[in-house]
Symmetry: C2
Subunit: 418 residues, 2 copies
């Protein structure tokens, strides 16, 4: 007999996580004999714990289709990591209570590394607590740090956004450098890994002088300033891509030793102004700086078609794995060829995914530590291929906001641990 499915979005959202949701729900709707309905967690796993479930069957086919071109988390996401079974058994018992009450037999969790760990724990409920459930993790993270899969949905679109934005701003600076700005600094996401910063390096093939500050490379101020000076002397301008995770030799973030605002308060965040002021002080060049922040991961208008297709495919494959009776798995992207780029869907056991962080290979970063290598470009370029613009209405993207109708509650209230 058909069971219901639970689907939740977890952690920082992306331009394409809703494309995965679309893949999950559209595929489930094609198999009503096995999946009666998809209930989404309002604000992620919190929706399961508080029994705040969204009845996706109330959404029209058109609304679900529109998720494919809508950025952000359509059902709400959350930053909430479930502790281990031993540390917080009450939460797992609560999940079982809610899942039982709503006849849920499938658990689809759409997130990054922390979520993979949660999903693994849920997948073990069957054994550990005697509750039958199939838990499938649907990969998502702009950080691109999940293992096994060639890339993580969300990353390709951020990479495209950063590559294109860096190119455009560099063209701007190039036109102005004679009498004005010579240094443009763009700060990008990536606290632990420099995948996103690496994407800025793609402008080098467009004849733009670029220096990258990776979180993986110890910051050498002297070498950095010498390189920037050399580039300005050759090109009359230089673009700098700095990862928010770039660190001083003592391990502190560049962004921490920051500037002060008009009120004398230390500014939180802001590696870009720190780097820009450092260059100005040492070399005297006029600068501009940008901090892309959420713009980079929300920019569905500039999404990579490859990324959108892969995000959708991961949602679809997640449901198909469940329909095949699988548990504790994550669908993956398998690159089968670089040129022409080709990929197919694979699968990995969650036990091999959870708590493993994929770092940038050292040979993706140039020897001097300030650029990317040919291997890195060969890896990145396929991921930004293709455009998939949303429909526009009255000059703006026609993004969908779902109704998000609540499923009537059946359980008693539950207090979340703070």
């Amino acid at each position: 007999m058909a069971k219901n499915a639970f689907y939740a979005q977890s952690g920082g959202v992306t331009a394409v996580i809703n494309a995965s949701a679309c893949g999950v729900i559209q595929t489930a709707r094609q198999h009503k004999d096995q999946i009666a309905n998809v209930y989404a967690g309002r604000n992620g796993i919190i929706g399961a714990l508080t029994e705040d479930l969204i009845d996706t069957s109330q959404e029209s086919d058109a609304a679900i289709a529109a998720l494919r071109h809508t950025p952000s988390g359509g059902f709400g996401s959350c930053r909430y990591k479930m502790k281990s079974l031993e540390a917080n058994k009450a939460e797992y018992e609560r999940l079982i209570e809610v899942f039982k009450a709503h006849d849920i037999g499938y658990f689809f969790y759409n997130g990054g590394g922390d979520s993979a760990d949660t999903c693994l724990k849920v997948s073990q409920l069957s054994d550990s607590m005697g509750f039958p459930i199939q838990a499938i993790h649907v990969p998502k993270t702009v950080d691109n740090d999940l293992p096994i899969t060639d890339t993580c949905p969300g990353f390709g679109s951020v990479a495209k956004y950063i590559a294109v934005s860096t190119l455009e701003a560099s063209f701007d600076v190039r036109s102005m450098s004679k009498t004005s700005t010579k240094i443009f600094v763009i700060e990008v996401m990536g606290r632990h890994a420099g995948w996103i910063a690496a994407a800025g390096g793609l402008v080098e093939d467009h004849n733009i002088p670029v220096v990258i500050l990776f979180p993986e490379i110890k910051f050498d101020k002297e070498k950095f300033l010498a390189l920037v000076k050399a580039k300005v002397e050759k090109f009359d301008f230089c673009t700098i891509v700095v990862s928010e995770g770039a660190k001083n030799p003592d391990g502190s973030f560049l962004a921490e030793q920051g500037t002060r605002d008009a009120f004398g308060h230390a500014q939180l965040g802001g590696a870009a102004p720190v780097v820009a002021n450092m260059v100005k002080e040492a070399l005297g060049y006029k600068f501009h700086w940008a901090v892309a922040d959420y713009l980079q991961r929300a920019a569905r208008h500039l999404a990579s078609k490859t990324d959108v297709d892969q995000a959708y495919a991961m949602g679809k494959a997640g449901v198909e794995l469940a329909l095949q009776g699988k548990n504790s798995m994550m669908p993956t992207i398998v690159r089968t060829s670089n040129s022409p780029f080709a990929w197919e869907v694979g699968a990995a056991p969650l036990s091999e995914v959870a708590n493993v962080e994929k770092m940038m290979p050292r040979d993706f970063i140039s020897d001097d530590g300030f650029g990317i290598t040919a291997s890195c470009k060969e890896y990145l370029i396929p991921l930004i291929q293709g455009e998939d613009p949303p429909p526009y209405k009255n000059g703006m993207p026609d993004y969908v906001t779902l109704q998000n109708v609540a499923v009537p509650k059946k359980c008693s209230p539950f207090e979340l641990k703070k």
Copy 2:
């Protein structure tokens, strides 16, 4: 007998100033009987003064056509304001020397308010210094502050970029607000006028709570914080759009950094972190902030089709005015209908354009000073209509970089005043 034309880009560049260049050059190429060749100033008017001219006839028709979809200034721009004839006669004499040597009879200057003033002075060379020249100003400025014309090419695309980016980031925050970020601050350009900030207000029609800080409105911290609090209590999140020109009650910029550009204007940047920290201190909400900086004015990938069409039309009309024997004029955009939006090309005498700054009408800003009115939306929405994506190649926009071949020099060197 056909004379040559001089064309230069001036001041901050935009996503569509090259579309105007395309309009100038393509139109001139159709009238070789009257305009023998177009020489572009390398880095703007500095190229004229230093006799650093670019021979645009060396560029293929395809390269010139590609300017239409390429952001930035293809020939280089500059921040260099010519003084009055009385204060620096040597520079005007030098212009005449260079123009005579290269048989230049037409002067097309593509810029904003300061450039309109320079263009006016050049247009008077005929009377004041006995040198026959027709000077036409081609309007451009993201600041949207030129008078008479309905809008300035460059503004519509920034407006679209800010509206779309604010919408996308707001969707992101809305998904995360339950456990994470509740306040998103985006800082936008606009030193004196809040036109660009106003564009952020367009997200209100997409059910996004937004508070705008305009340079025109004296900052009232108490009222601001109360409004943000009310919006968060209602929506669980709030988006704040802050103009780089937003000022404290004492007249200092929220973002004051102390450095000044070549025109003596204070160089701004960093109002967003100031505002974000202010909200955090008073209300405790978790925040994120972005500074779009050059990304906003370089984002040709998201240009407004209306803006691109108007930018091209202004370049074309500039040449047509010259061919009709006009001097000291600027083509303008005349809005003839809001719904459906319709516009045509007009013209204004430069004497009525130079040194006049068009501010936001007070009735475009809501009574409380933190939002935009229906009249403002009626004005803005037509300007962001339509998309005109560039061609893409290998995942990146296929922007053109011109060869910019120098015209052989005929004059002696000239030292620029510092």
